[in-house]
Symmetry: C2
Amino acid sequence: MIKILLDAFGGDNAPSATIEGAVAALNKDKDIKLLLTGKQDTIEKELAKYRYDEQRVEIINLPDVIAMDDIATEAIKRRQSSLAGAYWKLKNEDDISAFVTAGSTGAAIAGGQLILGRIRGVKRAALCPAIPNIRGGVTLLCDCGANAECKPVMLCQFALLASAYAKVGFGIKNPKVGLLNNGTEAHKGDTLRLETFKYLSKMNGINFIGNVEGRDIMLGDCDVVVADGFSGNIALKSMEGCGKLALGLLKEEIKSGVRAKIGYVFMKKALKNLYARIDFDKYGGALLLGLKKVVVKSHGSSKAAAIANSIAQAAAICRGGLVPQIEKSLAGENWDEIIDGDGQ
Amino acid sequence: MIKILLDAFGGDNAPSATIEGAVAALNKDKDIKLLLTGKQDTIEKELAKYRYDEQRVEIINLPDVIAMDDIATEAIKRRQSSLAGAYWKLKNEDDISAFVTAGSTGAAIAGGQLILGRIRGVKRAALCPAIPNIRGGVTLLCDCGANAECKPVMLCQFALLASAYAKVGFGIKNPKVGLLNNGTEAHKGDTLRLETFKYLSKMNGINFIGNVEGRDIMLGDCDVVVADGFSGNIALKSMEGCGKLALGLLKEEIKSGVRAKIGYVFMKKALKNLYARIDFDKYGGALLLGLKKVVVKSHGSSKAAAIANSIAQAAAICRGGLVPQIEKSLAGENWDEIIDGDGQ
């Protein structure tokens, strides 16, 4: 039985969507137990709407809620909040394996680093979403916003963390790693990219294929794309914006005339497939990699299905043994060389 | 009569696409004259396929061709190349107003800075494409790859250069300027963003609306997005990749079954509209802003229509008086304050 904490009050649609998602996850996977954090009475009321195995649900009364725009490092001091309180429980109780939240990204990152803590040897935790790609699989983009300013050693570790996730979470045996850059040639990029390229080429445990461009995240032949949190965030949100625009315009054009409406009736299934194939939430949330336990940050706008996916994802990753895999990978590299160079 | 140089041998589809595009532009706008650079005999052979006003075409024999992967700063020393030779002509002949090339981006930037030269006071030239947005207009993204490493003063100037382009090229009276960042709050971003935010807020001639995210390039309510060339490039290519994926999957789904194929017959026009609305080439190429004359960098994969659009765009921008507009804007700012601060 895998025990997973869920921030029942995190996200724009909480707590109704989070509870609905929790119940869906419980009913699908009989080998998980969920610990729901938040206002006890509200959670009880929401739960009463559904049928589920009550033995596998526990409510932890944490009535304070961190808002999306609260200052993260201050907010996580509030131990009675559904997010920070969950982190303390995750830290202190050995039999709890994972935490899922759709709450403030900043608070999730700050709580992960400051309350739960990082795996020994990891310089910084990184936010790593799985992005649908043209091969019908995913590309892991790491980091996507946890660290706006990075050193080469951090990017090298992101490569390793995301490779471990690709293996454990998606069964990719020898994940191909690309460095996000403004061109594919080896001499491209700023000082950070040039240094990182040098070290990535020498690392033992990763399959580095060289520089990749923004378009390669969705189109290219690579499983992991390594980025500093600033440009990774720009890439992720630019893709989200473009995807939303394309789908929005498609809807608009369909509504624009009788012929198009008739066409839509016939194409409905094809368009549904299309939507599913570029659905960023299909694979659950972004992983917070490098922490001592599994933490999944679901999108702030997550609906019940996305929450259920994030819980299923957390369970799968715990079963796959992500943390031991990362520890093993870390031990196989010569970090002193990178740190004693100009990597640090 | 506006005289425009065209690099007839620049781009993946040159010279057939460039010559076809040149003829289309000539036939559409009777008030332009084109100077075609490249191998004279090949250009003559291509031109012989079409009917056009021969009085408004001149061929300049420059038989050397710069390849996409030549090292830019070396390549532009080759004065007999269709690209570098064109830049020398642009520099030396007062009556030539603009240059259009679909050749190597690196060489186009290097030639612009080192042969043609910048407008007095401009620190660096910037690459600025017009990206289709949800409002049915464009968002100008500046810089998109000319400068991988930037100082705050450069970003402040990009804001001003692109605002001038928005006014002259798209008739936007008081263009809204956003700073590309990993969040919209004022405290977001790395040191470069924090410094730049401070200076942008104080500038006279721009309408700064604050930080914007990657998604705002296509979805947001802003006309100009300012970025360093590294993250601007990541944003642009990420959007291109996502757009290509969405359209590619749509085509695939349409082919996937009989019902979808029938639907397609009815939706053909709507889908064509959709394609046109997210066509990155519709507005011509990217402008190389900050140079002494108008330079348009068309996409390397430009077909005839894109080349014709780029030529029309160059003519429109010359007529609108981009260079004097930039000179006027530059004179209205207190650059010493930015440079004496930590902007430089």
